[in-house]
């Protein structure tokens, strides 16, 4: 395999000072929820670890994941694209088109077989012989399977690649399937980063973590990074005290809505939704849906389109003892995606092995 420059070498070569580089490392540590003590470790990793080639494929999607990605403030999207990754294929932003674009896939496979990251945005439909998602005259399914065979690991960006999302909502007219359920997908670790879209800084932090620590982040039993998806929005919501005090918005724009009371009664799905919206917040921490007055619609959860109206009150959530009930809901969701368990198990095994070898190396 060709020698790949380190992250630090590239940043330096591009005229970024050591001081800016170290500041970047501190911000990365902060965005990962790590203490400032980790900044030197991140700096060390970035000075010595190789850059990561990425092929970013797009299936049936709305491109909200890419749009979210370019909103990242720390690191800035331009630094990710120019210095952090080698984004060799991404049809949304690449200069080349047609066969000049498609040849890049084969070149990358040849040069970096088994070493590059496959990022999947959107998903593949199985109806219409796969031809309701055509790329280079062929079903997207073929491209996805082909590239998956040669990658090191797969990131399923967003709810389309992670769960199926809106086009897979009942009755799923195109039979769109998430990455891990795609027939013929290679048995590689899959990191799900769900959300419609995922938060920008969550997306770039997952990548920064993998580059820095040279391993897949610890995943939950559904395949999501625990660092961002192990808490319900409800757990850290700034309106939680109003829930506990029984102070609720009864109707949009009532006097309680103006006071910022809890939105549970107008349909908020925060109590059953695992995501970092109430902690990291959106668009550089500017706000998140509940702060702006609308209930959470649960967009990072599997099948959230088919769980009743966004304005129906969650049933089975009691004011006290909410944890046990919400845990049951989480457990059910895990059972529904049982088809994916084998893949997750494989991913977890590789992840354990990675951690083990890391330990031996130290």
């Amino acid at each position: 395999m060709a020698k790949i420059e380190t992250f630090y070498e590239v940043m330096r070569r591009q005229g970024i000072t050591r001081r800016s580089f170290l500041k970047y490392c501190s911000l990365t540590a902060a965005s990962l929820g790590l203490s400032p003590a980790f900044a030197p470790k991140i700096a060390h990793a970035m000075e010595t670890k190789p850059r990561l080639p990425v092929l970013w494929l797009h299936g049936l999607e709305c491109t909200c994941c890419s749009e979210s990605f370019i909103r990242s403030a720390h690191p800035l999207a331009k630094d990710v694209i120019l210095s952090m990754l080698s984004l060799d294929y991404d049809d949304t932003i690449m200069a080349a088109a047609g066969h000049q674009a498609e040849s890049i896939i084969e070149e990358t496979i040849k040069k970096y077989d088994g070493e590059f990251l496959l990022a999947v945005e959107g998903n593949a439909p199985l109806n219409q012989d796969g031809m309701s998602m055509i790329i280079a005259g062929k079903p997207f399914s073929e491209q996805l399977n082909h590239v998956s065979k040669h990658c090191k690991a797969i990131i399923s960006w967003g709810s389309c690649a992670s769960w199926g999302c809106v086009q897979a909502a009942s009755p799923n007219p195109t039979k769109a399937v998430p990455t891990h359920n795609h027939p013929g997908i290679a048995n590689k670790p899959i990191i799900k980063v769900p959300g419609c879209p995922p938060i920008a800084e969550v997306m770039t932090a997952v990548i920064a973590y993998m580059i820095t620590f040279e391993k897949i982040p610890e995943l939950d039993r559904q395949g999501r990074p625990k660092m961002f998806y192990s808490q319900r929005i409800h757990d850290k919501c700034y309106r939680r005290p109003h829930f506990d005090a029984g102070q609720f918005v009864e109707e949009y724009d009532d006097e309680y809505a103006r006071k910022g009371y809890c939105l549970y009664k107008v349909g908020c799905k925060g109590p059953t939704t695992y995501n970092a919206c109430s902690t990291i917040r959106w668009n550089e921490g500017t706000s998140f849906p509940i702060q702006a007055g609308h209930g959470c619609i649960g967009c990072s959860e599997d099948g959230f389109w088919d769980k009743g109206s966004f304005y129906d009150r969650l049933s089975g959530i009691h004011q006290f003892g909410v944890e046990s009930n919400a845990d049951e809901v989480g457990g059910t969701a895990a059972a529904i995606v049982g088809g994916a368990v084998a893949v997750h198990a494989a991913a977890s095994a590789i992840q354990r092995a990675t951690r083990k070898s890391d330990g031996q190396g130290e």
């Binding site: 990242s72 120019l82 012989d129 005259g137 399914s141 195109t174 500017t286 849906p289 109206s309 304005y311």
Partner: protein, 604 residues
């Protein structure tokens, strides 16, 4: 066939070399384009194919109309929010719900923020590489770039030679690494690129600046809608309640701090439009003064529903008035009525759908969409490996919408043509100013029409619209403050929130000036649930395949007669297509009430 003349006046000749571009990159969604070029490398036939289809409308059937905005918002994450806005308008129209003034102003600010964001990202991150050569920027003298910056955009603070030298250094090292990332396999030695190195360097610097700034613009959505992409909307108003000085104002969605935050973002948008975006487009355009082709339908037949009223529900106050112009006759602007079954109709005889009678079009309230993927006998390749498509048969996942049977172009150029023709002072002044600036930079003496009715004109109109939206945002913010000051803090009308208050059956339509053109949603509600939902989307109008009469759509028309430097390097084709800012996920979402009958899972 050899040569066919279409009813809308194009001579299609497919005898020359066939060039295939799949995927067309730097667009939203997925598309394919095939053209024939003659021995002089001039395009004589163009075939545009939408290559994705998701079937969102069947998914909506039977759901709560108050939820529809969230589903249709996911038609597109680039023009995020415009489908949600159109949806709540359609539902409110059906249920006769009037929203409060504050809600109207907040929705307007969200819509105009999207325009600025979407237009800026389109120009710098999707379109610029058709005009700008980053490799050539390495040859630039940073001092010359600084001079150019001060000539074209004197009010932009980042203009020193040192600044441009730093940018150049970063790009040089990036390119010298050999890992070119998104620039890989570009057409950097193609003579179709005309900019001198100093202009290339200036544009590359602004590519990076725009990438940093666009994330600031969208924070307006984050304040009002909680997140971006995909902010939240609400039937009856907006979800962000106002609490200026009452108890717990600090935890309320909107208070003085939040509104000031929005104002700061509006000021950034306005400054970028005025100091960078408009000057860049004019500077780049002046270097392409000899490439003023690609006008296509934009030089003939244009349409928009009209947008940005100063008084809600009063179309006569639209700041970008709508209508239809046919055959370049600016003296006769016809009214458009989205409810009239004879006006907007969709055809499918060249689309991968089935109608009982494919010679006829259907109005969206009565629309049918049943997928029917089949290829014509002259296809080269196979059903799942298309080499060359047969455009005499079905060839796209995009339907063909027509206005009274006419193919029309939609988008900022269409809106600007309509506003200019109908005497909008603001638009006329903007156009005259731009034409004068273009002529001064290019050393030409052209009128507005030859500049506007071209590929670069489409791109210029988009920039002008972004600037107009930036100015209107200031007006809307001031109006909001004024209305709150007058004592009105209402943000939602919940009188008809409960479905028990709804009629047994209702139908409505919502229209919006989406970034890519006029957008309409048509809804039928029955027993409190969605009975039918249809969207007719800008890129469906522009990307449409042929219709039963043989008219070609706007993408195809814009390519006709365009010369290309090198047939195997699609710089000019990408340039023309990108000037529409194609959005393929939008254009190919369609599905209707009968769609659920055709779902047959065939697992490969």
């Amino acid at each position: 066939m050899s040569v066919i003349t279409t009813p809308n006046g194009y001579n299609l000749d497919n005898s020359g070399q066939r060039v295939v571009i799949d995927p067309v990159t730097r667009i939203e969604g997925h598309m394919r384009c095939e053209v024939n070029v003659d021995s002089n490398n001039v395009i004589t036939n163009a075939v545009s194919t939408g290559t994705m289809w998701r079937g969102l409308e069947v998914i909506l059937k039977g759901r709560d109309p108050r939820d529809a905005w969230a589903f249709v918002e996911r038609i597109c994450g680039v023009c995020t929010g415009c489908h949600a806005l159109t949806s709540v308008r359609a539902v409110e129209d059906a249920l006769d719900i009037q929203i409060p003034k504050n809600a109207f102003l907040i929705r307007e600010m969200m819509a105009k923020t999207l325009q600025v964001h979407d237009h800026v990202v389109h120009f710098y991150h999707l379109h610029a590489l058709d005009w700008v050569n980053p490799v050539n920027a390495l040859k630039a003298d940073p001092k010359a770039t600084s001079k150019l910056q001060q000539l074209t955009g004197p009010n932009h603070p980042l203009s020193s030679p040192g600044y441009f030298r730093d940018v150049q250094t970063r790009i040089r090292k990036f390119i010298e690494s050999g890992q070119l990332g998104p620039f890989k396999n570009g057409y950097w030695d193609n003579p179709a690129y005309k900019l001198p190195p100093e202009a290339d360097l200036m544009a590359v610097a602004h590519y990076l600046e725009a990438l940093d700034l666009q994330k600031e613009f969208v924070k307006v959505h984050t304040v009002f809608g909680g997140k971006n992409p995909h902010p939240n909307y609400l039937v009856g108003g907006v979800p962000c309640a106002i609490n200026m000085d009452g108890d717990m104002s600090a935890g309320a969605p909107l208070n003085m701090e939040r509104l000031n935050f929005v104002k700061a973002r509006i000021d950034e948008m306005k400054a970028f439009n005025d100091n960078v975006y408009i000057p860049d487009v004019l500077a780049i355009a002046s270097f392409y003064k000899k490439q003023l082709w690609g006008g296509g339908l934009g030089a003939k037949s244009v349409m928009d529903y009209g947008a940005y009223p100063t008084v809600n529900y009063d179309k006569s106050t639209d700041q970008l008035p709508g209508g239809v112009i046919l055959d370049d006759n600016w003296d006769n602007v016809m009214e458009i009525d989205p409810r009239d079954p004879e006006q907007v109709q969709e055809f499918v005889n060249h689309s991968w759908y089935k109608y009982p009678d494919e010679n006829k079009g259907l109005h969206p309230w009565d629309g049918i969409t049943e997928p029917n993927y089949e290829l014509g006998p002259d296809t080269k390749g196979t059903r799942t490996n298309i080499q060359e498509i047969d455009e005499n048969a079905k060839y796209s996942w995009i339907k063909a919408p027509r206005w009274r049977g006419h193919a029309v172009e939609v988008g900022p150029l269409s809106r600007y043509t309509l506003a200019y023709a109908q005497g909008s002072k603001y638009v006329q002044e903007q156009v005259h100013r731009s034409v004068a600036a273009f002529n001064a930079l290019a050393g030409t003496d052209l009128d507005a029409k030859p500049i506007l009715q071209s590929t670069i004109g489409r791109t210029l109109a988009r920039a002008l619209e972004s600037q107009y939206c930036g100015d209107m945002l200031v007006d809307d913010w001031n109006s909001l403050i004024g209305n709150i000051k007058a004592g009105d803090t209402a943000t939602a009308n919940m009188e008809k929130w409960d479905p028990a208050t709804w009629p047994k059956e209702a139908k409505g339509v919502g229209v919006t000036a989406a970034p890519r053109g006029g957008l309409g949603h048509w809804i039928k509600i029955k027993d409190g649930k969605i009975e039918n939902y249809q969207c007719v989307v800008p890129s469906t109008w522009n990307g449409s395949p042929r219709d039963p009469a043989g008219n070609i759509g706007a993408f195809e028309a814009s390519l006709m007669g365009t010369p290309v430097e090198r047939a195997d390097e699609p710089v000019e084709i990408l340039r023309n297509l990108h000037s529409f800012d194609p959005c393929l996920a939008c254009s190919t979402h369609v599905m209707s009430e009968e769609g659920d009958e055709i779902v047959s899972a065939k697992v490969r």
